[in-house]
């Protein structure tokens, strides 16, 4: 059980980071981004691509290592690359849609198409699961949990990232502007905030966080073309649980979902059904929607 709790914390931190990103984007733009998972996957795929020899079908590159395979530099470049993709998507796709006053529902369907498109581009690049070029490590004990030093570092780094996001949203000018646009786009515009720039910034930062979550996820498991799609539903569960659009709620919700997924393996009725562990988290999400649709920390608004 304790071991599952450790795994749960790890998954929780990944889902948290990704949920905050999704929730931030939803809060500011009102877009439920189904392509979020593909940005997550891009973070991992780009890191793999930059840091190790890859076998790609589309690019026919046997070895591509301009950075001398330095893992950390690869991670930083990949995260920036994800941010760039987010910016490009906002600038060339979602901003024109917003200017044409296309409804939120239509934009949601566009993100579904985008997700399908990007995911299978990755699949054409390389469909085989691969691992980051990192050496194997032995598990060690930290407080109560057994985990590898690398995974422990992921956990600590994730917590630092969360604290930074919280500080950023509460104490910086641009963070405050983001919250202002989230609360009321019109009022923010009246106060002299350029909401287009804020939305662009939100896309970039949300995508960078997603890319980082992808790197975390791939460090713990492996890199697959559909890794983002597989985790996307858990991210939705975390976001909805905490309250969609809230940042703090998404953090807590993500943590809870990560722990629930792993601890549910130990439940009596789950014996021999470990594959179905995600179903428990998704069922909790549906139940939350039934009884408290605004989530744990969401403000009560009319959601019907």
């Amino acid at each position: 059980m304790i071991e599952q709790l450790g795994n749960g914390l790890l998954l929780g931190i990944i889902i948290s980071v990704a949920s905050v990103a999704l929730s931030l984007l939803y809060g500011v733009t009102r877009i439920v981004n189904f392509a979020h998972g593909e940005i997550i996957a891009l973070g991992a795929i780009a890191t793999l691509f930059l840091s190790s020899p890859v076998d790609s079908r589309l690019l026919f590159l046997d070895r591509f290592s301009p950075l001398g395979n330095n893992f950390y530099i690869s991670v930083i470049i990949s995260v920036i690359f994800c941010g760039l993709l987010g910016g490009i998507l906002e600038f060339f796709l979602f901003r024109p849609l917003r200017k044409a006053e296309v409804g939120n529902i239509a934009v949601l369907v566009v993100t579904i198409g985008l997700s399908l498109f990007l995911r299978h581009i990755y699949m054409l690049l390389n469909a085989k699961p691969q691992n980051f070029p990192l050496e194997l490590q032995r598990r060690e004990t930290y407080l109560f949990f057994d985990m590898t030093p690398r995974n422990f570092r992921v956990l600590i780094l994730g917590i630092i990232v969360m604290v930074l996001i919280g500080l950023f949203l509460n104490y910086t000018r641009i963070g405050k502007a983001m919250r202002a646009v989230r609360d009321s786009n019109d009022l923010a515009s009246v106060s002299g905030i350029n909401s287009d720039n804020i939305i662009l910034f939100t896309w970039i930062s949300s995508s960078m966080l997603a890319g980082l979550a992808g790197v975390f996820q791939a460090t713990i498991n492996d890199v697959r073309y559909n890794m983002g799609f597989l985790i996307l539903l858990l991210i939705f569960a975390g976001t909805v649980l905490g309250g969609i659009g809230t940042s703090f709620g998404a953090m807590v919700g993500g943590f809870i979902i990560g722990i629930v997924v792993n601890v549910s393996v130990g439940l009596p009725f789950m014996e021999g059904h470990t594959e179905a562990k995600n179903a428990v988290a998704l069922a909790i999400m549906i139940l939350i929607l039934l009884f408290r649709p605004q989530g744990i920390f969401g403000e009560k608004e009319r959601v019907s």
């Binding site: 939120n104 529902i105 239509a106 949601l108 985008l114 498109f117 299978h120 699949m123 998704l282 929607l289």
Partner: protein, 351 residues
């Protein structure tokens, strides 16, 4: 039915795309065309069901594959079949049409079960709930191997349907070198399309249909007039889910086996692409959308060969899904009403 310019253009495009099949395939056109029409019929029916949700009522359903799967699994489990790794044979069972009826009704009830928590909420929540429910369904089917056969699936259930096969279908199949059981499924799916369309046409022109469209456009107004908007939405959700269940059964009998991999999320996205292509809110649109869609899908093999030398199955599938994603995006951006949809009927900003 009035023939508008849009309608004639759509019919022209459909005929042209069928003509393309003859143009691009040098031999074996008849089996290819027939295969295409079978899938177009089954998926078209599913798209009609989805259109009841999205086009008529404005409900975002991304779990269509689960409704199809639910109908198919219930039906197949009620008739004689063999399931699982060992292929445990179950010889007793209900007659096919009774099982089909129960299957369709259970798919509709599954819709009710899902709709209850989600339908009171804003549209995007329903999208998340339905896609999550489809995943739960998939995980459960995989996990409950003793009943559903899990990844090994269910086989040997076709005969309960094929015993009703009519003589002229055998004749038609043998003279054209086709598989008679597939011909029968195709025949049934097109019959079902006609019946479902007749039913829907009657329903949409009834007070019920008008109330439903009113819900899509202004739910508060409907409430103010004393109609129960939530119950109306639930009814529509059940109706669409039932139609999806029927198409799922047809898909199962077309393959002759079902596994976990038969009803995966990608199936939902296919149906979405077909619906948007055919026209959101148009009753007959999905049929034409479906035919054109399957012509495109049928030719992805050729497109994949252009990109890769000797493309393998996975690459062809990848190219196909990339195309479907692009199709959904481009249509939704540039022509959200599809071929047959009416722009004024399309209020996509449903709250």
């Amino acid at each position: 039915m009035k023939f508008s310019i849009k309608g004639s253009l759509t019919i022209f495009l459909t005929i042209f795309s069928i003509f393309l099949v003859f143009l691009l395939n040098e031999d074996g056109e008849i089996p290819i065309l027939f295969n295409l029409l079978t899938f177009a019929g089954i998926y078209g029916l599913a798209a009609i069901g989805l259109n009841v949700h999205f086009g008529l009522t404005g409900l975002l359903n991304f779990g269509h594959a689960a409704f199809m799967g639910f109908g198919a699994y219930v039906t197949v489990l009620l008739i004689p079949h063999a399931a699982g790794r060992e292929g445990v044979v179950i010889t007793t069972g209900l007659p096919f049409f009774l099982a089909l009826l129960i299957g369709v009704i259970s798919a509709a009830l599954f819709g009710l079960l899902l709709g209850l928590p989600a339908i009171r909420l804003r549209g995007d929540y329903l999208a998340i709930v339905t896609i999550a429910a489809a995943e739960i369904f998939r995980l459960l089917v995989r996990d409950l191997e003793s009943v559903t056969g899990g990844v090994y699936g269910i086989i040997n259930f076709s005969s309960s349907l094929q015993q009703y096969r009519l003589g002229f279908i055998d004749n038609f199949a043998s003279s054209n070198d086709l598989n008679p059981s597939q011909v029968f499924v195709a025949f049934l799916s097109w019959i079902s399309i006609v019946l479902v369309l007749l039913l829907l046409r009657r329903l949409t022109n009834s007070p019920w249909g008008r109330a439903l469209r009113a819900v899509r456009e202004d739910e508060d107004a409907v409430r103010a007039l004393g109609k129960n908007a939530v119950w109306l939405k639930l009814q529509s959700f059940m109706l669409g889910a039932g139609i999806a269940g029927l198409s799922g059964v047809l898909l199962a009998f077309n393959y002759g086996t079902i596994q976990v991999s038969t009803f995966v999320p990608i199936l939902t996205f296919y149906v979405w692409a077909i619906m948007i292509l055919g026209g959101v809110g148009s009753l007959t649109g999905p049929i034409f959308g479906s035919i054109i869609f399957w012509v495109i899908i049928g030719e992805t093999n050729g497109i994949a060969q252009l990109i890769f030398e000797n493309a393998n199955g996975q690459q062809i599938a990848g190219v196909r899904f990339v195309l479907v994603g692009l199709l959904i995006m481009i249509l939704m951006i540039f022509r959200p009403s599809g071929l047959m949809g009416k722009k004024e009927e399309l209020l996509l900003d449903v709250k």
